[in-house]
Amino acid sequence: MRLLLLVIVLFFSVNLQAQQALKPVVAKPVKDTLVLKLDSSKTQIRKFDNQAIQKLKTEKEFQYGEEESERLSWWERFWSAFWRWIGKLFASDEQSSGSSIWPTILKYGAMVVFVVLVTLAVFKLAGIDLKLFAGKSKSVEVPYDESLENIHEISFDDEIENALQHHNYRLAVRLLYLRTLKILSDREIIDWQPNKTNLAYVREVENEKGYEQFPQLTYQFEYIWYGDFKIDKSTYDTLQESFQQFNETVK
């Protein structure tokens, strides 16, 4: 503790002495005189000895260019050539030959392409969607799941017959409705799409003449199929007649 106190006291005392030793320095007044001395010696212009330079260039010790070793692999030689090409490309304009504008265009064009390629590579690696810069996209990205039933491939007569044999009148009505949709689609009266609802098809024909019965048939199909209303043979026969009449009108 004492030692510490002694060190502190000594430190401050030295510092105090150092401060006391400082005296303000007052600049002496300088005579306001100016004497100009002109350099009258003769200038000698020195020139390089071109012959000596050319001679030195031939010596191996002064050839600083990268040596293309035969021992380099083709991959190393490719990169060596690539970087030499890049070096030439980015060399100053003065070194470029002639007064044509094309080297400059090529140079900056190559720079733009290079930057774009690097940016694309970075975006790809980062997993950023490049459509981000293409504005608002409303496109559907994922295709439809494979439709279990294609109305253009169903053999309606056979399937309806099969349903009736099993007294499945509900399924038979469904097939009647799907057949009507197929006929409307074949006649290009409706645009058949798997994602469209029945109401969408009703809206497509509502302003057309001759299809007034279609909303009614849709209504009946929905009650039976989605509403699970039970129907018997006589009700089915009535409905089948309605569908038949409508289909003949369309044909």
Partner: protein, 325 residues
């Protein structure tokens, strides 16, 4: 012929009458906005909470008040502010000198229809006070659980999140709202009609004239009826597929929950009942898909930067899925 062929299995006459009356009451003050009115009624019948979003001045609060006034039930209003505390909503224990005990004093959440005005003006701490009440219809304070009376419905209004001084609602709370109803600006014709109808009228007096058309018992009965409606199994799968796709879609950072699937089916049932049917069609599901799902999902940052909305993505998803037929 249909009436002979398809005998009505469920009596929806009372429901249809009530819906017509509510539409009439709301139509007295609100011009146009038919889709909004339908969603408000569907939310009421489907036992859901509703979030009304729109810029200031598009009658969000008025719409909520009108729905509340069309029902003969207790009504509370809570104005959410940045300094609102959870105890201001739920209630708090107050010391009673007479009994020398703490007694629970109920907050405004204890009511049938709760209007939470400007819900996103309060921070998440206060908003989370609603979690238990909205989902479990009960409030737990100091270890005691207090059941809320049925029907319990939260009608919340909010400005879009970009507005000054607003906070985004927590996902857990957004998921508890059956619909987010976006109230848009009226068309020019509607605006002219609003001016013609309202410029000499006092809205407060008009609001006072609105009479309740349903009481608590009727509401509960209608809800039970809607709950019992038939949904074809393929349509249940269709609803589930829509919700499932929100979890697979790369444009969405957060997909919808199973609670959303239930909400989709229940609200589609309400839509079917309002259309006079006791069964659901694909159109009913599509009609409610955006109001049910858009606020429950989150866009990926890239799609957000593209300027897409969650409603756009839900629309795309619906277009991808084959309608069962």
């Amino acid at each position: 012929m249909e009436q002979e062929m398809f005998n009505q299995r469920t009596d929806l006459s009372q429901l249809n009458q009530a819906v017509a009356q509510i539409r009439q009451q709301l139509g007295k003050i609100i011009v146009g906005q038919t889709e909004t009115i339908d969603l408000l009624i569907a939310g009421l019948l489907a036992n859901g909470h509703l979030l009304l979003e729109g810029v200031p001045g598009v009658a969000k609060t008025l719409s909520a008040k009108l729905v509340a006034k069309s029902i003969a039930a207790t009504f509370s209003r809570i104005q959410f502010t940045p300094d609102l505390m959870p105890s201001d909503v739920l209630g708090t224990a107050v010391f009673s000198p007479k009994t020398a005990e703490f007694q629970f004093r109920q907050g405004p959440i204890f009511g049938n229809i709760i209007l939470v005005d400007e819900i996103n003006r309060a921070p998440a701490k206060t908003q989370s006070a609603l979690f238990e009440a909205m989902e479990e219809r009960q409030v737990t304070v100091d270890g005691h659980t207090y059941k809320l009376e049925e029907p319990f419905m939260v009608l919340a209004t909010q400005n879009p999140v970009e507005q000054e001084g607003t906070y985004r609602l927590p996902e857990a709370q957004l998921d508890r709202f059956l619909f987010k109803v976006e109230i848009k600006y009226p068309s020019l014709e509607e605006e002219i009609a609003i001016l013609e109808q309202q410029h000499q009228q006092d809205t407060r007096l008009q609001l006072a004239e609105v009479k309740p058309v349903l009481d608590v018992a009727q509401i509960l009965a209608l809800r039970a009826t809607i709950k019992s409606l038939f949904v074809e199994p393929k349509l249940l799968a269709y609803a589930a597929q829509i919700v499932h796709e929100t979890r697979q879609n790369k444009a969405l950072y957060l997909g919808a929950s199973p609670r959303a699937s239930l909400a989709l089916v229940n609200s589609a049932k309400a839509m079917a009942a309002m259309a006079g049917r006791d069964f659901v069609t694909p159109d009913d599901i599509i009609k409610v898909a955006v109001p049910v799902l858009a606020h429950r999902v989150m866009l990926s940052p890239e799609k957000e930067m593209e300027g897409l909305t969650t409603s756009d993505i839900i629309g795309q998803i619906i277009k991808k899925i084959e309608v069962p037929r």
